[in-house]
Amino acid sequence: MTDDLKKYRRKTQATDFLIRFFRTLILIGLSFVILYPIIYMISCSFRERSDMNDPTVMWIPRNFTLDIIKETIEAMNFGETLYNTLVLNIGCCIVQVMSCAVTGYGFARFKFRGKKLMLGILIFMILVPVQVISLPLYTQFRYFGIKGVFSVNLIDTFACMYLPALLGNGIRSGLIILIFMQFFKGLPKELEDAACLDGCSPFGAFIRVMLPNSISFIITAFLFSIVFYWNDSYVSSTFFTNNQTIGLMLKNLDSHLSMMLFNDASVQISPREQIVWMQAGCLISIAPLLILYCYLQKYFTESIVNSGIVS
């Protein structure tokens, strides 16, 4: 009996060890696949461009330098670009999260006629890519107003980013509304019932009771929204001709760099060496996101996993 038990114990211990071993191996291997470009970026941005031709340099640069980063920041006009991005994208994110939270709450807690149809439209909104409607949307903004009465040209103004965000139609708003809806459905109804008994209007109950209870979820939605806006180059390139945001800048990084840095005919830079600047550009444009992610990571991972978005 005890022998059997011992044998059994040994067996489970062995399998446990094996499972743990392989799990760690797989996870470390795949983490490397994910982290590889970022490590490579960091490694590239701090080396001199001659290191690119040195076969002995793989990860650790021979000559450390900050020049590449400085030059790239200059070429990207980083200060202004970052300012534009903050004003446009972060502002839009805040507005978008608010409007989506309100809409999601409306869908989660109230019954009204036409709700099914609206939910159908909401799903359709998630399915239809923005590319399908971007051209009519452009004309919509170009001649904004009531046909025959008045029309304003909103292209190149902040309004064409802020208006859709405010009205719950920003970038991937459908998805955020759906997530909020599921989240509010999961909160206990007693919360607002108590507020209503105390004489709060539903809107007051929403602001005073529901919002404070969902702070961590709102932060998550906000992070999602920042990611969508930060990485967007399509929508902003449709509506803006000269406002540079980081997403746009990155998309055309190649041409910007060659205009600013490589225009000098006396300097010959091989395409192989140009990678240094490209990587530095990538690094400084995702750096703000990465730093934000490091701080908010806990909210992001834990609250999504535990909030019951699913269901």
């Binding site: 983490s31 309100v102 109230f110 399915l127 719950g168 990485n231 444009s285 019951g308």
Partner: protein, 300 residues
């Protein structure tokens, strides 16, 4: 009487909450959608104050499918690629989610790492790191993936004295290993959704399985899989849409090319065809999978 008025009031409040969205949707979604549908069946020219359209019927659709060789071939290849890649992404993300759902040291770190693609992958950074620089001959993601694709398995089997099977198998394996980078990088959100689903498995089911003496293998197929099945469908749809709306994919590029030639009608028709194909695939998969999906908690 009073109850009814209360309900009425509540209905009004409901409209109040969603009114912003309704206005926005009409202006920024429904009207443009209808307009683009109109463009797709007409000849669009740039007029004085707005775009002038004249009705031409299905000519644009016909041109898109049969006259533009490049469009149809690109459409077909993109569809094929998405169809074989999506199951791989799903399997991979479910696997990782199950791993990350266990308790072990360093879990927070690994979770943070695996969600990292969510932050970066949708942007232009991804197109830079995933091999837009291939022509420069430098070390990049594509080359990185081929690191794995040496014929290791074939050599192993030959070592064991088995010949011949591996040639077929090898093509599949290289297919996977060559794309391991893009698969890992496009499964961030899917992992999150699966993890959330795994957390929702009731404790009672776990306990019952342990008491019945289920092995981890049994547990996965009898407990985990049924509970997760609805989310496999949701993830499938998400993955498909994500691949489909990605501006870097070939069909989208072709549509932009046509649009930049100011051929708005044709480009609208192309995007509607594309959209229709994707909707059809999603519809078929949803219909087929309906049988196998287990909805444990209907009321939730």
């Amino acid at each position: 009487m009073k109850k009814k008025s209360y309900e009425k009031r509540k209905e009004l409040y409901g409209y109040g909450f969603v009114s912003l969205w309704i206005i926005g949707t009409v202006i920024f979604f429904l009207i443009p959608l209808v307009k683009s549908l109109i463009y797709s069946v007409s000849d669009v020219t740039i007029g004085e104050k707005s775009l002038a359209t004249s009705f031409t019927g299905i000519e644009n659709y016909y041109n898109a499918l049969f006259s533009d060789r490049k469009y149809s071939s690109v459409l077909w290849s993109t569809l094929k690629e998405t169809i074989w890649k999506t199951p791989l992404i799903l399997i991979f993300s479910l696997f990782i989610a199950v791993l990350l759902n266990n308790k072990f040291r360093g879990r927070t770190f690994f979770r943070a790492v695996f969600f990292l693609p969510v932050i970066i992958a949708s942007g232009p950074v991804y197109s830079i790191i995933s091999g837009d620089m291939a022509d420069t001959g430098n070390m990049n993601a594509e080359q990185f993936s081929t690191l794995f694709s040496n014929n290791l398995l074939g050599e192993l089997l030959q070592f064991l004295g088995i010949y011949g099977i591996t040639e077929n198998m090898n093509t599949y394996i290289t297919l996977i290993t060559d794309n391991i980078f893009s698969i890992v990088w496009s499964s961030g959100i899917q992992i999150i959704i699966f993890l959330a689903a795994l957390q929702n498995i009731p404790v009672s089911a776990k306990e019952a399985a342990v008491i019945e003496g289920a092995t981890s293998w049994d547990y996965f197929w009898k407990i985990t899989f049924p509970y997760v099945s609805p989310f496999i469908l949701a993830n499938f749809i998400f993955t498909f849409i994500d691949a489909f709306t990605n501006p870097t994919n070939a069909v989208m590029k072709r549509i932009f090319e046509i649009r930049n030639d100011l051929n708005f009608g044709l480009s609208a028709a192309m995007s509607w065809i594309y959209f229709g194909v994707v909707l059809a695939v999603i519809g078929v998969i949803t219909f087929i999978s309906r049988k196998w999906i287990y909805y444990g908690n209907e009321e939730a």
